[in-house]
């Protein structure tokens, strides 16, 4: 990628070409969306008011950006100082993730210019969505403040403000964990209001707990994935401090993920028992539930466990993307597949080309922003001028 760039001086690497095509297509669909309405580019309907822009961009986006709060909590609250090098990349991933969620929401809601209404104009405080919106709004600000020192170090000349922000690290980290707990769980709680629409194997009063617990191992797994990929493509930007803690971090996060996944599985089973859902396991949806839970939680959990026990980083690096896919499957199940399960198939939802293009567009913008930032700003390395006071 960047190495190719500097070698040939050419902007037209395969990755850039594909990214360019997606950006172009995205722009076209954006124009259509904002000149002809949601109906012209989506398969949304009165029966299916929420599609992949909610199921993927919002639900998956927020779950997978959870690496920010988990890594900074591990480093600053639980005292794992050797993971210090991983905090900035995780915070950057989270910041871009949440920024993109907000960006994607501008496509989905009918009147995006009114997105600030619930916070500043008229507060629907009985709504779980209000709580999600408020938390995401505040948390995006927190993440921005946590990312800002890297930007300031790059730009130079902001030492006083950078110093203030660095002093706030502990407070911002704790506040970040509070906010993350709230909105990660609330995304699950959104569906509590529609018991008649969500299949009994997925509908449980424990939905908020499920979403919160899974967000933890989603974030940890994303950090492992992002680290593995970054090592491949941005190795030249990494310094000794980052590299020293890198392998240790992947093992520690594997251990933590396996443990939390075990707790999550326990809650899944207990949830079935609480509401006496066992007989649903023998239906078609039951098979699908088992596919999701056994295939994408039990198995990657075991993979993580063996990988940690045997100090086999290869297994860890298989378990991580496996887990990430499992999270996405769970969010799709709750929002799109097990939701409206009783509707006749003619009335069920499938994303349109326009919706898929926009979702790809949003992810591509994020990846490009990530690349831009890490190849210039002190994310994987410590800025030489700030070696002593680096946070």
């Amino acid at each position: 990628m960047s190495t190719q760039e500097t070698k040939n001086g050419s902007l037209f690497t395969p990755f850039n070409i594909i990214a360019g095509i997606i950006l172009a297509a995205g722009l076209v669909v954006t124009i259509m969306r904002f000149t002809m309405g949601l109906g012209s580019v989506t398969n949304l309907s009165d029966n299916n008011p929420w599609g992949i822009w909610i199921g993927f961009d919002l639900l998956c986006g927020v779950a997978l950006a959870a690496g920010g709060y988990t890594t900074s909590a591990a480093c600053y609250i639980f005292g794992f100082k050797r993971f210090h090098g991983a905090v900035r990349p995780a915070i950057l991933t989270a910041f871009l993730g949440y920024a993109l969620v907000v960006f994607a929401l501008h496509f989905d809601v009918g009147r995006p210019w009114r997105l600030v209404y619930p916070i500043f104009y008229q507060q629907g405080t009985t709504s779980i969505l209000f709580e999600v919106g408020l938390c995401v709004f505040i948390y995006l600000t927190v993440l921005f403040l946590e990312y800002l020192p890297a930007f300031m170090e790059w730009k130079g000349g902001f030492d006083k403000y950078r110093g203030i922000l660095v002093k706030l690290t502990m407070g911002l980290t704790i506040f970040g964990v509070i906010l993350s707990t709230l909105h990660q769980s609330s995304l699950g709680a959104l569906y509590l209001i529609a018991p008649s629409k969500l299949h009994p194997l997925w509908y449980t009063p424990y939905l908020p707990v499920m979403f919160f617990m899974s967000s933890m191992f989603a974030g940890l797994s994303m950090v492992i994935c992002e680290g593995t990929l970054s090592h491949k493509y941005f190795h030249h930007k990494m310094d000794d401090e980052y590299n020293a803690g890198y392998l240790d971090l992947q093992f520690a996060f594997a251990k933590a993920s396996a443990w939390i996944m075990a707790g999550y599985l326990a809650m899944k089973v207990l949830g079935l028992g609480m509401d006496n859902r066992w007989h649903y396991l023998f239906t078609g949806f039951g098979a699908w539930w088992l596919f999701e839970v056994v295939g994408f939680v039990v198995l990657p959990c075991y993979c993580y466990a063996v990988g940690f026990r045997d100090r086999n980083v290869g297994l860890v690096r298989i378990a991580a993307p496996w887990t990430v896919i499992g999270i996405m499957l769970n969010r799709f199940d709750v929002s799109l597949i097990a939701f409206n399960w009783q509707l006749p198939s003619a009335d069920r939802y499938f994303p349109s080309v326009g919706e898929i293009i926009i979702s790809l567009f949003v992810v591509t913008v994020g990846v490009l922003a990530f690349r831009f930032i890490v190849t210039r700003m002190p994310i994987f390395f410590v800025h030489p001028a700030y070696k002593d006071s680096s946070h």
């Binding site: 904002f34 000149t35 002809m36 309405g37 949601l38 109906g39 012209s40 989506t42 949304l44 309907s45 009165d46 029966n47 008011p49 929420w50 909590a73 600053y76 609250i77 639980f78 005292g79 989905d108 809601v109 009918g110 009147r111 995006p112 009114r114 997105l115 209404y117 619930p118 104009y121 008229q122 507060q123 629907g124 009985t126 709504s127 779980i128 969505l129 209000f130 709580e131 919106g133 502990m170 704790i174 964990v177 509070i178 707990t181 709230l182 769980s185 609330s186 709680a189 959104l190 569906y191 509590l192 209001i193 529609a194 018991p195 008649s196 629409k197 009063p205 908020p208």
Partner: protein
């Protein structure tokens, strides 16, 4: 004042406050309900599927003309739902083959505890005193969570508008009922399948009718308690409500009740997490400090041990050196004495 005395006074004051004054904090006992709110009773056994109610609704609410006119009854051959141009529609069902069809009019049920109002994050829905659940398009962001929340699948959205898309649903003709008029659909019905009145009176009418026509109706008034109760009530001929497309598994728990648990957890996290997390941080800091201190001690001990050993070794070497030097000196002295003992024989006058 002695501390014990002070605390005793505090305690007494607390007890007095909690028992003497009525609790200002609201509980669900403070919910009055709207006993005089209006509603509509729909009798599915009287409906003939003429669609005059749909036509009247369209006129009263100034909705756009549909593709097929309202007197086209072939429309009833497909099961429809409300849409952005139709606040209400009539569906035809055939619960028992060979018997005449039963018709059902579908529109917003104006729930007593509306899920749409509970779900809306800008409070765009309000249950008014008349019983109508009204929508305020001037604050709506278009998130469509109300559509997810409504258990009856009623709200629709103007997906084809760019600047002013709205959620569309029956208003119970709020402007008309405030003027003392009947809702458009009720006024237009030629068969008195729709009756407008106070909800509690409608319940009486419904149960009277069920009792007076033994065996004809299902012995249940739909909407009496479903989802916490609705202002739009339905009675239906046998065999069932399910046979005319109504969900019999909704339960009686209202939307606010379904979400109150999750909402209650929010302040608990805000109150407890700061304490918990700073506590964890303090514990890990303390562990680190103890580990540091133990390490320091181990280093100091090691230093002390090695310097003690070194000192011992030094002393041993010194002693050895001293002994060696002593022996050397003694040897020299001996040699000198021997030499001196030999010398006197030939050197007296040297």
């Amino acid at each position: 004042m002695k501390r014990r005395h002070f605390l005793g006074l505090l305690g007494a004051a607390g007890v007095t406050l909690s028992t003497g004054v009525s609790a200002k904090a609201a509980s669900s006992a403070d919910v009055k309900g709207l006993p005089n709110s209006f509603g509509v009773l729909f009798d599915a056994s009287r409906c003939i599927g003429c669609r005059k109610c749909e036509a009247a609704c369209n006129v009263v609410n100034e909705l756009p003309q549909p593709a097929k006119p309202f007197d086209d009854l072939t429309v009833l051959d497909t099961v429809r739902r409300t849409d952005a141009k139709s606040y209400t529609i009539v569906n035809k069902y055939t619960p028992e083959a060979g018997k005449p069809p039963v018709f059902r009019k579908i529109q917003c049920n104006h729930c007593m505890e509306p899920a749409c109002a509970s779900a809306c994050f800008v409070s765009a829905f309000k249950k008014s005193e008349t019983g109508a659940v009204v929508y305020d398009a001037s604050v709506c962001v278009g998130c469509r969570y109300c559509m997810v929340a409504c258990p009856f699948g009623i709200p629709t959205y103007e997906y084809n508008k760019v600047l002013t898309p709205r959620v569309m649903k029956c208003t119970m003709c709020q402007p008309r009922i405030l003027e003392g008029k009947l809702p458009g659909c009720v006024e237009a019905c030629p068969k008195e399948a729709l009756v407008f009145g106070k909800r509690r009176e409608l319940l009486n009418i419904a149960w009277d009718r069920i009792g007076a026509n033994a065996g004809r109706y299902v012995e249940h008034v739909y909407g009496e308690r479903e989802m916490g109760g609705t202002n739009w009530l339905t009675i239906a001929p046998k065999p069932s409500f399910a046979a005319i497309g109504m969900d019999e598994n909704l339960g009686t728990t209202s939307a606010p009740e379904l979400t109150s648990g999750a909402l209650a957890a929010v302040p608990a996290v805000a109150g407890i997490w700061p304490v918990l997390l700073t506590g964890l941080y303090a514990i890990s800091k303390r562990k680190e400090k103890i580990a540091e201190a133990e390490k320091q001690e181990a280093v100091e001990q090691a230093i002390a041990k090695t310097s003690a050993e070194a000192a011992e070794k030094l002393a041993a070497e010194l002693a050895k050196a001293e002994a060696a030097s002593k022996r050397h000196t003694e040897a020299e002295v001996k040699k000198a004495l021997e030499a001196a003992a030999k010398a006197p024989e030939g050197g007296e006058d040297a």
